[in-house]
C-alpha cells in the first residue's frame, strides 16, 4: 500500500524497516514480511525518482530555452 504515500513517508518507513532489521531482537518470523515490504517500498521509490528525474529534465530544458 504505497499509492497515497509521499516519497518522504515511504523513505521514512524504509529507514524504519532497515533499523528494525538491524536490531538483534528482531523476530525472525517478521523478517520475511518486513523484507517484502522494504522491497515494495524500494521499487516504488525508484519509480518515483525516475518520474521526477524526467520532469526535472524537461523543466531544465525549458529554463535553458
Amino acid at each position: 500500500m504505497t499509492e497515497n504515500m509521499t516519497y518522504s513517508q515511504m523513505l521514512a518507513e524504509l529507514q524504519g524497516i532497515v533499523d528494525a532489521v538491524s536490531r538483534d531482537d528482531c523476530p525472525v518470523d517478521d523478517l520475511e514480511e518486513k523484507v517484502q515490504r522494504a522491497g515494495l517500498l524500494i521499487k516504488t521509490l525508484r519509480a518515483r525518482l525516475k518520474k521526477t528525474e524526467k520532469s526535472v529534465s524537461q523543466m531544465l530544458t525549458e529554463i535553458d530555452s
Partner: protein
C-alpha cells in the same frame, strides 16, 4: 425811477433771457451725483457736477431732470445702437440738455434730452472703480481666486457667444495643443443690455449640468468698443463668479481692456486665445513634470531591475544545478538504504545460521551414544532411573548398565570410595 418787479416778473425775465441765450438743446458733460428716481411717475432727478479733484468738492453743480417719456425714448435709441443706457452715480456722462427755469419757484434745472452712448471713457472707468472698491470691500473679488486651479485642467466650461471668433480661437488653441481637453459650452450674449443676465444664466446652467465635473470655466469674448465691454462691468456677474465652485478664467476683449470679471475671476487672460494658452501651458507643465518623474523613476529602477535579473539568473543556475543532481542524490540515498537493508538481512540470517550451527554442535556433543562409544556407561536402577552417584547404589542392588553395543544387568557386590559431593 424804475418800477419794482414782482418775483414772478423777475423770474419770467430770467427765464426769457435764458431761453434767448440757450435757444436749442446743448451737449454738456459732468459727473452724476445725487441720483434718485421718483417711483410712480418714472422721472429721474440727479445733479451734474464738474469733476472734482481728489478730496475736494466739485467746483460747480447743476440740477438735472430726466422725465419718464424722455427716458424711454433715450433708452430705446441707445439700445438700438447696441449700447448701454444706465445712469449711475459717480459716472461722467455726456448728455444733451435744454435749459429750464421755473418762473414760479425760480428753480434752474437742466432737462435731459439725449445721451451720448459712445462717451464712456472716464465714466466707465469711474463706474468700474466704484464697483471694484465696493465689491472688494465685501470680499467678492477675492473669492474665486482662493479656489485651487487643477494641475491638469482638462474639463473646461466655456461661457461665450455661440459661433463667435472668441469660441473659434479658444477651441482651436486647445485642439492644437493635442491634449484631450473636453469643452462644455454654455452660450451667452456677449453684448447688449442682457449680457449680465445671460452670462449669469450660462454659469448657472454649467452648475446645474456639470456640477463638480469641471476643472475650470472660461468666460471670454473678443475685442470691442469700451461701451461693448462695459456690459461686463456688472456686479451681478462678479457676485455669480464669487459663488462658483470652479476657478474662472476671464478673457474679455484685448490686452488693454479691463472689465469687472477680470477682477472677480481666478485668472485674467488677455484674449480668448490667451485663456486657452493658460490652460494648455498648465497641462503641458503637468505633462512635463510627469515625464520628468517618469525618467527619474526609470533611471532609479533600471539598475534595480538589472540587479534583480542577475539574482534571478544566479538563482536559476543554482536551481538548475540542484535539480540536475537531485535524482542521483536521492537515488544514492535509496541505494544506501537498500544496501544497508541487504546487509542487515544477510547479517541477520547469517547470525541465525551460526546460532543454529552452534546449537547443533552442542547437541551433537551431548549425544549419549557418542559418550558410550568413548567407553562411558550409564547405570540405571530397576525402574530405569539414571543413577548419577555411587551413593545412590547399595550392595546387593540390581542395576542396569548401558554400554556401547548393548546393556548389562548386574548385581552390586560391593562398593568403595563412597564420599559426598
Amino acid at each position: 425811477m424804475q418800477t419794482d418787479l414782482t418775483v414772478l416778473e423777475l423770474n419770467q425775465s430770467v427765464k426769457s433771457s435764458l431761453q434767448s441765450s440757450f435757444p436749442a438743446p446743448m451737449w454738456i458733460r459732468g459727473v452724476i451725483t445725487g441720483l434718485r428716481r421718483v417711483s410712480g411717475r418714472g422721472h429721474t432727478y440727479f445733479q451734474l457736477a464738474d469733476p472734482a479733484a481728489a478730496g475736494e468738492q466739485s467746483p460747480a453743480v447743476v440740477d438735472c431732470a430726466l422725465f419718464a417719456g424722455d427716458r424711454s425714448r433715450i433708452s430705446l435709441e441707445t439700445g438700438r445702437k447696441g449700447k448701454l443706457f444706465d445712469l449711475v452715480n459717480e459716472i461722467e456722462v455726456r448728455i444733451l440738455v435744454s435749459v429750464s427755469f421755473w418762473d414760479r419757484s425760480g428753480r434752474f434745472q437742466l432737462l435731459m434730452k439725449g445721451f451720448d452712448a459712445d462717451f464712456a471713457g472716464d465714466s466707465a472707468a469711474i463706474h468700474l472703480q466704484r464697483l471694484i472698491k465696493q465689491l472688494s470691500q465685501e470680499g467678492i473679488l477675492e473669492e474665486n481666486g482662493t479656489l485651487p486651479l487643477s494641475q491638469l485642467p482638462l474639463n473646461i466650461g466655456l461661457v461665450t457667444s455661440k459661433g463667435s471668433a472668441a469660441e473659434r480661437d479658444f477651441v482651436k488653441t486647445l485642439e492644437e495643443s493635442g491634449y484631450p481637453f473636453r469643452v462644455h459650452a454654455a452660450w451667452a450674449l456677449m453684448q447688449g443690455s442682457e449680457t449680465a443676465n445671460s452670462v449669469c444664466s450660462a454659469f448657472n446652467k454649467l452648475m446645474t449640468h456639470r456640477g463638480d465635473s469641471l476643472d475650470a470655466v472660461v468666460l471670454t469674448r473678443g475685442g470691442g468698443s469700451t461701451t461693448d465691454l462695459s456690459w461686463f462691468n456688472n456686479e451681478g456677474i462678479a457676485r455669480t463668479i464669487a459663488q462658483l465652485p470652479w476657478p474662472v478664467i476671464s478673457g474679455i476683449g484685448h490686452e488693454i481692456d479691463t472689465t469687472l470679471p477680470d477682477y472677480a475671476a481666478h485668472t485674467r487672460a488677455k484674449t480668448p486665445t490667451h485663456a486657452a494658452s493658460i490652460l494648455v501651458d498648465r497641462v503641458a507643465r503637468f505633462d512635463d513634470s510627469v515625464s520628468t518623474l517618469s525618467q527619474i523613476l526609470v533611471s532609479k529602477i533600471s539598475p534595480l531591475i538589472q540587479i534583480e535579473n542577475l539574482k534571478l539568473t544566479n538563482l536559476t543556475g543554482n536551481l538548475t544545478l540542484y535539480l540536475a543532481s537531485l535524482p542521483s542524490r536521492k537515488a544514492e540515498v535509496l541505494q544506501k538504504l537498500a544496501s544497508k537493508l541487504n546487509l542487515a538481512v544477510v547479517g541477520k540470517l547469517h547470525h541465525i545460521e551460526t546460532r543454529i550451527s552452534e546449537s547443533e554442535r552442542q547437541i551433537e556433543m551431548r549425544d549419549p551414544s557418542k559418550m558410550l562409544k568413548l567407553g562411558w556407561s550409564v547405570v540405571r536402577d530397576e525402574n530405569g532411573n539414571p543413577l548419577r552417584s555411587a551413593n545412590l547404589i547399595s550392595e546387593g542392588q540390581m542395576v542396569k548398565i548401558t554400554m556401547n553395543h548393548g546393556s548389562l544387568t548386574a548385581l552390586v557386590k560391593g562398593k568403595t570410595g563412597e564420599k559426598s559431593d
